[in-house]
Symmetry: C2
Subunit: 187 residues, 2 copies
Amino acid sequence: MERLRKHIEQISPLSNEEFDNIKILFTKKRVLKNQYLLHEGDDAKYEFFVLSGLYKVFFIDENGKEFILQFAKENWWMSDYQAFFKEKKATVFIECIEAGEVLVSTLETREKLSAELHKMEYFYRIKLTNGYVALQQRIKQLLSSTPQERYEAFVKLYPDLLHRLPKKLIAEYLGLSRETLSRMYSK
Amino acid sequence: MERLRKHIEQISPLSNEEFDNIKILFTKKRVLKNQYLLHEGDDAKYEFFVLSGLYKVFFIDENGKEFILQFAKENWWMSDYQAFFKEKKATVFIECIEAGEVLVSTLETREKLSAELHKMEYFYRIKLTNGYVALQQRIKQLLSSTPQERYEAFVKLYPDLLHRLPKKLIAEYLGLSRETLSRMYSK
């Protein structure tokens, strides 16, 4: 739980008592490689804070083609946020790529902590602000950039993931063919 | 200012006194057709709440090609949020398509209101949550959907904008050629 505390305290410092009240609302879960934390069609009741391991959030179109929305590593949050916030059925999958541990929490917890502790509302607002900016950046990239630019932006943003992820998955995330990606690796 | 109050109160009801303290932090501004509210390279110091009129947030790539990130109509917020939140230079333009009025505010105002009034922090968090979900939806669409699906989603989401916007701009927003879009109109 110390990882969660440090993570929150980068934005909102907490007293011991405050953190004691927060941590009882999170449950630790071990996740095995290839295990699914969320499946299309499930109620998207949970969000996950990554303690260790590596995960992918993806969806599959009508033709069976897979698209990766997000990777998640240590200190990242993940869910089908569209479904989670609107309390609907999931339209994405979350699968474990590297075994690890996550903390599991609910929308009720997010709302309760935000309502009871102004500094937790601040924490969630700042995290959402950062997330919003990152998604807007991704949209700009999807609209306009070349494969080479997308690859370079990925390498710059996530140098560590380059070595932890199979090339196939990086290609799917960037919306490139494996051949195009291999050409970039060799440069 | 009544429009702003109603807008906030859809999420956080306010006392008269609270709203009096909020409204003095917003300045009303008249905007003419084709006027720029933000130009690439400017300090992105302001965010805008639309009282009336229609606006586009766009960027231009190295080859001079234009891409539309967002339209904004009544009750919508707009800025170069990446630059606004990080206090950097704008990488997008905001141009007025239909003359109208906006309320102008700053990051300092957003932070001050959030810090002083827990219910304003709640308001901004909920708005960001909705914005985050909308951007994620757009990413899914950009990654996987066909031109026909993109067009249909736009019509469903913004039936009124279909008639207020020139076809050229809708095509730019959807990342389609004008010819492809014209074929869809005729269906």
